[in-house]
């Protein structure tokens, strides 16, 4: 990671335990301003746990410092108000409300602090996801998987986040839509949003990211610039597969 960029997010020695089982052990990661940082790893490595702890949905030990401020006890409402957005793995949409209402609620804390310009942001979101504009009056619960993911990302963007955390954005999506989502992630970086991307689809994640961490059984096993990790034999062996072995397995 370049040393001259400011870090939006610095997490050091973050640990989370579910009862006596430690799901995350002393994880330390950094996200520089305007970067895409990805965390890859197998099922149950603690990726979702890490994101939940950073934003304060789970109790944790360790330091989380966001936008230059140290959070003693991360608190969801304060972090969201400060510009952190999480698109959770389960999307957590408001199913019985319209697409437009979902988007509006994404700007809730901006509205609360007196910012009335969220309508402009909504137009930007509709420009990024024209599909959502077509479906604006439809209930969120009736959308297809890809549209739901678009809505979840769009809703997070309504907050104009400094840091966008995406948990498995490609989960359950067809390959073409996955490609579309990753194209949008790259586009968001161009617009200046810093992104922390958690993915199982390591190939796609490493292609788009600047820096990457590999999380295994709750701790950071490897880290480095994404293009270096892409060529690292251990990563190829475990996550990318030789000659797309991984992809072939999926196809059978």
């Amino acid at each position: 990671m370049q040393t001259n960029t400011r870090n939006v997010l610095e997490v050091s020695n973050l640990s989370v335990a579910y009862g006596k089982v430690e799901a995350l052990t002393n994880a330390s990661i950094k996200v520089g301003e305007g970067q895409i940082v990805t965390v890859i790893g197998p099922n149950g490595a603690g990726k979702t746990t890490m994101l939940s702890a950073i934003i304060g949905l789970l109790n944790s030990k360790g330091q989380v410092s966001f936008d230059g401020k140290l959070e003693v006890v991360p608190d969801v409402e304060r972090l969201v108000a400060g510009g952190m957005s999480l698109v959770p793995e389960k999307r957590e949409l408001f199913g019985e409300m319209s697409v437009e209402d979902n988007l509006e609620l994404g700007a809730f804390h901006r509205y609360r602090s007196g910012d009335r310009k969220y309508r402009d942001t909504m137009e930007e979101v509709y420009d990024i996801f024209p599909r959502l504009r077509e479906r604006r009056v439809q209930m969120a619960g009736t959308l297809s998987g890809g549209e739901r993911q678009m809505l979840a990302v769009g809703r997070a963007l309504m907050a104009k986040p400094k840091l966008l955390m995406l948990d498995e954005p490609s989960l359950g999506l067809a390959p073409l839509i996955t490609r579309e989502i990753f194209r949008i992630i790259a586009e968001l970086r161009r617009r200046g949003v810093s992104i922390l991307l958690v993915e199982q689809n390591a190939r796609a994640a490493l292609a788009v990211a600047d820096y990457a961490y590999v999380l295994e059984t709750g701790s950071v096993a490897m880290e480095g610039p994404a293009d270096q990790l892409r060529d690292d034999p251990r990563v190829i062996e475990a996550y990318l597969g030789l000659g797309g072995k991984h992809q072939d397995m999926l196809a059978t």
Partner: protein, 344 residues
Amino acid sequence: MDLDIALILTQDGITTGAVYALLAIALVLVFAVTRVIFIPQGEYVAYGALTMAMLQQGKVPGTLWLLVAMGAFAALLDGIRVMRGGARSGLAASLGWTVAYPLALAALLYAMPATQSIIVQAALTLAILVPLGPLMYRLAYQPVAEGSVLVLLIVSVAIHVSMVGLGLLFFGAEGSRTPAFSDAQFSVGALAISGQQVWVVVASAALIVGLWLFFDRSLYGKALRATAINRNGARLMGFSPVFAGKLTFVLAAFIGVLSGILIAPLTTIYYDTGFLIGLKGFVAAIIGGLASYPIAAAGALLVGVLESFSSFWASAYKEVFVFTLIIPVLVWRSLTSHHIEEDE
């Protein structure tokens, strides 16, 4: 029974039904947002009517001291939280509500000459009682907000019993009836409609429309609905469940107190009358499955009309008829509704 009597009974039923509708809507709202079955909803009705009556007698109501005491207790809890290293932000605003506001209101009530204006009396009643809602959430429900529905229900029962006891202490055992808002009488055919009945129906309808606009148009209303649909999702939007709970309890207290003020001239209210009124609102809320506002409101009208007809035919059994209604409703609901798994 001839048509005239049926019409009069229907008219009576719609008037009481309108109040039950307000309570039913409040109960559905509180349950949807906080999962609390809000048994003390009826106590707000009785407190509203009796506080209004005391103000009309030129006395300072005891509920004012309840507000001061609950505010002081909430301030104490906030102080302890800050001393243990909690965030200081928002402390000043919260002290304003918990300490400064009740004391200012007390000073105002003592300094102010007794007023005859019903509007001023109603405003004072609301000013004293509505803040009890969020304070009650802060003191009783917030510490156990993540508990099961059963735990929250037991807390509700405890609050209900305490409020009835305090009601006896504040207002005494005698009932009160306040003068009507207007002495107007309208006659339509054989029907004589009193001004107060018009007040009740119009005010209830206006409040229902207001609530509908709030939930459909304003972002705060939408955020409350969002919390009811998906708590975690709402938290991720920066809408805290604590804030949602307090806002809900403000609305519930407002609805309850206003209902009390509206029905106080129609019937004699005792310190423990609220429970039965609240339960009838609850029957209506159950008809709506504790989820649907329009069905709950329609159910409330049904409850009101059923009550007035059964009090004509068999007045000793009128409560029995109303509460028996819940059995066919539950059978019907359990046959028609099917459990829907949460998405994904």
